[in-house]
């Protein structure tokens, strides 16, 4: 069942939102069985950007601000089939949540709902005013130079300078004037990450952002993402197929099964995580089991490489080299 470590109890009677909560806008998600009497809107006290210094432990304390993301009873059906059958999820400001699930389980669907891209979902969701999305594909406008892609939707000289800084942060300094079509896959994905970060989002939504990258670039992107999250402190929802990636990066891991979050728990491994950590292996086994992969299957998949579980489910191929990056700072 859903174990939630951070969320306050669900607000009773909050079924419909008629007015956008300030400062957190409500993703326009109409309630399906609309009650005859409109229920009052529940203003979710979301904090934008997250506290600048507060670490995870501090946020957990009693006086912590409300969740940045608050999802209640979100449902989505496609052709009568409920892909999301009532999702409840809270993400605290600055918290990093990884969402796992089999292919087709509805992870992208949930992410798109939170990004405000799905007008047909029902339920209630509150997100920070400023969100940013990194899609599975880089999605850079091919007719716009890299810097202007990063800047897309922002105005002013200051934003321009920040965009250049963000590009440098992801290691793309000097590529400002390049056309996206001339970037390599990893470079394009990093540019997409820069585009998300330059917005200083209160919520960063990542949909398998590293799925198409090679193992080495992936390792580099992991540490880059960790650094950037430490610096910018957004709430993060990372959709991934890769169990190891989830455990390495996230404060919390959730598993989506049959339209519900069948598992949602903290990763109690501290800052520097290593795959050799026994806690790591335990959690991975748990997660894999939750995903329907037995230990035997997992080790069978990696049998040629010393029986170590691949840690990868779904359509992605196991990433061998990623293992060596486990303890990377």
């Amino acid at each position: 069942m859903t174990t939630r470590t951070t969320s306050p109890p669900p607000a009773p009677g909050a079924t419909q939102v008629s007015a956008p909560a300030v400062p957190a806008p409500v993703v326009p998600v109409p309630a399906v069985p609309a009650p005859a009497v409109p229920a009052p809107a529940v203003p979710a006290p979301a904090v934008e950007g997250g506290p600048a210094v507060a670490g995870w432990a501090a946020r957990q304390g009693g006086g912590a601000p409300g969740p940045a993301v608050r999802v209640r009873e979100v449902r989505r059906e496609f052709a009568g089939r409920a892909v999301l059958a009532g999702i409840d999820l809270d993400i605290a400001p600055g918290e990093f949540v990884a969402l796992l699930g089999r292919s087709g389980s509805g992870k992208s669907t949930l992410l798109r709902i939170l990004a405000g891209l799905d007008a047909d979902a029902t339920g209630k969701a509150t997100v920070p005013a400023r969100g940013a999305v990194v899609f599975q594909d880089p999605r850079l406008l091919p007719w716009t130079r890299v810097l202007d892609n990063v800047l897309l939707g922002l105005k002013g000289r200051q934003a321009r300078a920040q965009a250049a800084v963000a590009l440098a942060e992801v290691g793309l300094g000097g590529k400002e004037r390049a056309w996206p079509g001339t970037l390599s896959g990893g470079e394009a994905q990093r540019a997409a990450l820069a585009r998300a970060l330059v917005r200083s989002p209160g919520l960063l939504l990542l949909d398998e952002p590293f799925g198409a990258l090679d193992a080495l670039t992936r390792i580099r992107m992991h540490s880059l993402l960790r650094d950037l999250c430490r610096r910018h402190q957004p709430a993060v929802l990372l959709v991934t197929h890769d169990v190891d990636e989830a455990i390495l990066l996230a404060d919390r891991v959730a598993v989506l099964t049959d339209g519900r979050l069948s598992l949602d728990e903290r990763v109690g491994l501290g800052g520097a995580r290593h795959r050799s950590d026994p806690g790591f292996a335990t959690l991975r086994t748990r997660l894999l089991a939750e995903l329907g992969v037995t230990d035997d299957e997992a080790s069978g998949a990696a049998g040629a490489r010393g029986g170590e579980a691949s840690g990868t489910t779904g359509r992605d191929a196991p990433v061998a080299a990623a293992k060596d990056a486990a303890g990377e700072p």
Binding site: A115, G116, L117, G131, A132, V133, F135, D137, R139, L141, P142, W143, T144, L152, G153, L154, A178, W179, P180, G181, T182, R195, R199
Partner: protein, 305 residues
Amino acid sequence: MTSLLLESPGGAGTAGTVGATRALGPVPETPEAAGPGSVPVALADPDRPRRRPVPKWLRRLLGPVLLVSFWQVGSSAGLIQADILAGPWTVLHTGYTLAADGTLGHNLVISLRRVALGLTIGVLAALVLSLVAGLFQIGEDLVDAPVQILRAVPILGLVPLAILWFGIGEQVKIFLVALGTAFPVYINTFAAIRGVDGRFVELARTVRLGRLGLIRRVVLPGALPGFLVGLRFAFTISWLVLVVSEQINASSGIGYLMDQARTFGQTDVIVVGLAVYGVLGLLSDALVRLLERRALAWRRGLEAS
């Protein structure tokens, strides 16, 4: 579009690490050269004197030059009567005379003006209509169906009606050119707008571009290649429509010049007119190409990678 013709810096066919052998047919005698079942690869002999290749443009010129030569010879020998087709030399001479006394320039300017006006009006109208139809559902409902129906009507079939509406002044020609050019521009631009990748539209929403920003940053640049394709068609069609409408009813313009020449049997003048149309067609095509090169620089980046 891009041809994959790779050449090593040293010129074509430089021997690689395999080592050059002249052996083409039989398996080389040297026993260590190949195991059983191996086949020699034909490679060029590095010592062979290399011929300098004839430039491509020169080779391509050969056919036209031959054709004109035959034409000239045929005319000189009396095989081609002057009242059927004047010889190339006569045509050149007539062209020079017409240019020198200002007849050609005067009529050319008039024709150019008609095309320029017609094109401008047609392209602008088509742009507006395609934007309205492409961006708004109600616009599509109102605009697209009528346009698709009208498109089926051959534009030159409208000439009698256009003469009834506008008389035989400048307006008819401009109207016909505008109408003829509007369709290809509309159809290609509308399709291009509708073809803009929905993922980019989603992106625009996530970065909060707003409607105007979406149009300016995503829809228009995304539809530009399609628009340029339409523009190219429009240029071609504009000359076509102009030729016909100038020959049917006009008192000036290149087409009028040609029609006059017909009544006097001056085939040389007619050929001069044809040549002028041809050159104008080539020039306008080059213009669109230039536009494409400038506007679609990002594509070159794609191709270069």
